[in-house]
């Protein structure tokens, strides 16, 4: 008994503060997002009205929001195109490169450097006055390109920054995956005279499925949540030409004081992330999912059996009554 009280006291002490923090700073704000998404709150006025699903229909109808999603899509597509390259580079790094430790250090470095500093560094490269890239173009007598102010180009310029920052992480992840592959298999393939390309297609890709799907999902989630690069470099402009969905959400709240719509956008984003995570779970651990599904199927079957039993009994009873009636 004494043991039990001690245990309860310890649990209460250890869990109290983290639980309070979790509720106050994570769950309550999450709940509030959902609540406000059904109102027309402007962020200042204490009064607001419930407007039903209006904000949600707006999320899907407004052109600027679709435009921002299109911008997100560019991040996704270009990072996707880079995945085979990243895998190939990881394979080279794993097997054919001397001093791979050095290259590993370099490749990963952009991820660790302060994102804001990187953003301004690229602003310097892209700048139309004294900028490095335009300086290079001038050497070739090519006119200036407005890297960050031409609405047609700006988003590409920003995606390049994202590629510079995150390609290295993907390479390192693929490398970790490669290092977990059984080396004997590759040795055997090598002895059989398989080319590098064949090894890549026949051994490496099938054995890297889980890392591959992790990187893919990181890519989807990352692309959906791009925020700081456009926020710092262009604040989404010119116009909305480099606004991403997350940036648009934050701006809708803090700049345009449309908290209702912003919260609806936030909820849509959270739901998208949940759906993506669930799908990832299904892809990565189908056994676990199958187990759950079987359990559910089992339950359904039990229920069905019960119902059938009832029907059968009922049927029998009726038959009996019938036969009784006949005899009477």
């Amino acid at each position: 008994m004494k043991d039990k009280t001690q245990r309860s006291i310890l649990l209460a002490c250890f869990l109290a503060i983290p639980t309070i923090l979790l509720f106050v700073f994570v769950l309550y704000p999450g709940f509030k997002l959902a609540l406000i998404s059904f109102t027309d709150w402007d962020g200042i006025n204490p009064n607001y009205n419930y407007v039903g699903l209006k904000n949600y229909t707006q999320v899907f109808q407004r052109k600027d929001i679709w435009q921002s999603l299109k911008n997100n899509n560019l991040y996704f597509m270009l990072h996707l195109l880079f995945i085979p390259i990243e895998m190939y580079l990881a394979m080279l790094l794993d097997r054919y490169i001397k001093k791979s430790e050095f290259f590993k250090t370099i490749v990963f470095m952009p991820y660790i450097i302060n994102g804001v500093a990187i953003a301004y560094m690229f602003s310097f490269l892209y700048s139309s006055e004294d900028g490095v890239l335009n300086g290079l173009l001038a050497l070739g007598h090519i006119g200036k390109i407005r890297w960050l102010s031409d609405p047609k180009i700006v988003n590409y310029s920003l995606v390049v920054v994202s590629l510079w920052r995150f390609t290295g992480v993907h390479i390192i992840l693929f490398l970790a995956g490669l290092q977990s592959i059984n080396k004997d298999m590759l040795e055997a393939a090598l002895i059989d005279g398989a080319s590098v390309f064949q090894q890549f297609i026949k051994i490496i890709i099938p054995n890297m499925k889980s890392i591959l799907s992790i990187v893919l999902f990181l890519n989807v989630r990352g692309a959906l949540m791009v925020f700081d690069i456009p926020f710092v470099m262009t604040s989404g402009g010119p116009g909305t030409s480099s606004t991403t969905f997350a940036l648009h959400t934050v701006k809708t709240a803090f700049e345009f004081s449309n908290f209702g719509l912003a919260c609806a956008m936030a909820i849509v984003l959270i739901i998208a992330i949940i759906v993506i995570s669930v799908v990832q779970g299904l892809v990565l651990e189908p056994e676990k999912f199958k187990g759950k599904l079987d359990k559910i199927k089992g339950l359904v079957k039990k229920e069905k059996l019960k119902v059938e039993e009832v029907i059968e009994k009922e049927g029998e009873r009726l038959e009996e009554e019938k036969s009784k009636r006949v005899t009477v």
């Binding site: 649990l11 704000p29 997002l33 290259f103 952009p110 890392i211 997350a246 919260c263």
Partner: protein, 278 residues
């Protein structure tokens, strides 16, 4: 036979060229900023960005230190890092210990809430968190980002829990027989054993806090509360030249780059493990 060797050599040379190319792509932009930070604005205007600074001057750095609020930023960043990692290590190891060693009602609910809250993107939650921070009266203080960093770091609890799960329960039992209280088991048995994990988590969290932009930007707007990162954001408008801005950029980059070069192994393995776990 000889021919094969030649093709192998070519293959090798090609691969190394690719990686030298990648190294240049990573390093040249950084090098440009470092070089520019020692140049005068006039020299930058001439172009030739990869030329060595001549005359070599430290004026940009002097200017940034004088007008850029660097020391305040550094102090605030350090306080934020120290406060966050200390409280975070204590709280999350306690939660992980409780979840790993005890069965209690609502444990499953607890797990669900934690996993669920991992799915809410931080900057999105600020829309409603903003009002709460205001009502608690900690707006524009170091406490605001600190409580957010601590309460949203659920990954750390997961990592700790996995570590504690691996510690054999017989250790707890023998300590219990020797008359240790549960708290003493946590403090004298478990906590020392998870120190390696703690080291990795501290390093990763410090990098996160040092590099974070939006939380301090949103919650600590006054100049006296600037972190290194927001100091840079404030300075951009006032810098007046790429030369000075480059110096500020280099100053902000340095802390995490130095940390990376010292703790490379831990950072690499930690981030890979984190990505795979998520």
């Amino acid at each position: 036979m000889k021919k094969k060797k030649a093709s192998e050599l070519l293959f090798n040379a090609l691969n190394h060229t690719v990686f030298v190319g990648i190294t240049l792509i990573v390093l040249v932009p950084l090098l440009l900023v470092v070089l520019s930070s020692f140049k005068t604005p006039e020299q930058i205007a001439q172009g030739y960005h990869l030329s060595l600074p001549a005359p070599f001057s430290l004026d940009n750095y002097k200017e940034v230190f004088k007008n850029g609020n660097v020391l305040t930023g550094f102090k605030n960043s350090m306080l934020l890092v120290l406060g966050t990692i200390t409280i975070n290590v204590i709280l999350s190891s306690m939660v992980a210990y409780s979840l790993s060693r005890f069965e209690f009602k609502l444990k499953k609910v607890y797990f669900f809430l934690f996993s669920f809250s991992m799915l809410i993107p931080s900057f999105i939650a600020e829309i409603t968190r903003f009002g709460i921070i205001g009502r608690l009266g900690i707006y524009d203080t170091l406490l605001a980002p600190m409580v957010i960093y601590i309460s949203t770091d659920i990954l750390q609890i997961y990592v700790y829990k996995q570590f504690i799960d691996q510690i054999p329960y017989s250790l707890d039992e023998s300590a219990r027989i020797d008359g240790c209280s549960y708290f003493k088991i946590y403090w004298k048995v478990i906590f020392p054993l998870i120190l390696p994990a703690t080291a990795t988590l501290i390093i990763l969290k410090s990098v996160d806090v040092l590099n974070d932009m939006f939380t301090p930007y949103l919650y600590m707007p006054s100049a006296a509360n600037a972190t290194l990162t927001t100091m840079l954001m404030n300075y951009v408008g006032r810098s007046g030249s790429w030369a000075k801005l480059s110096a500020a950029i280099v100053i902000v980059m340095l802390p995490t780059v130095i940390m990376y070069l010292i703790f490379k192994k831990k950072i690499l393995s930690g981030i890979v493990a984190g990505a795979v776990k998520e």
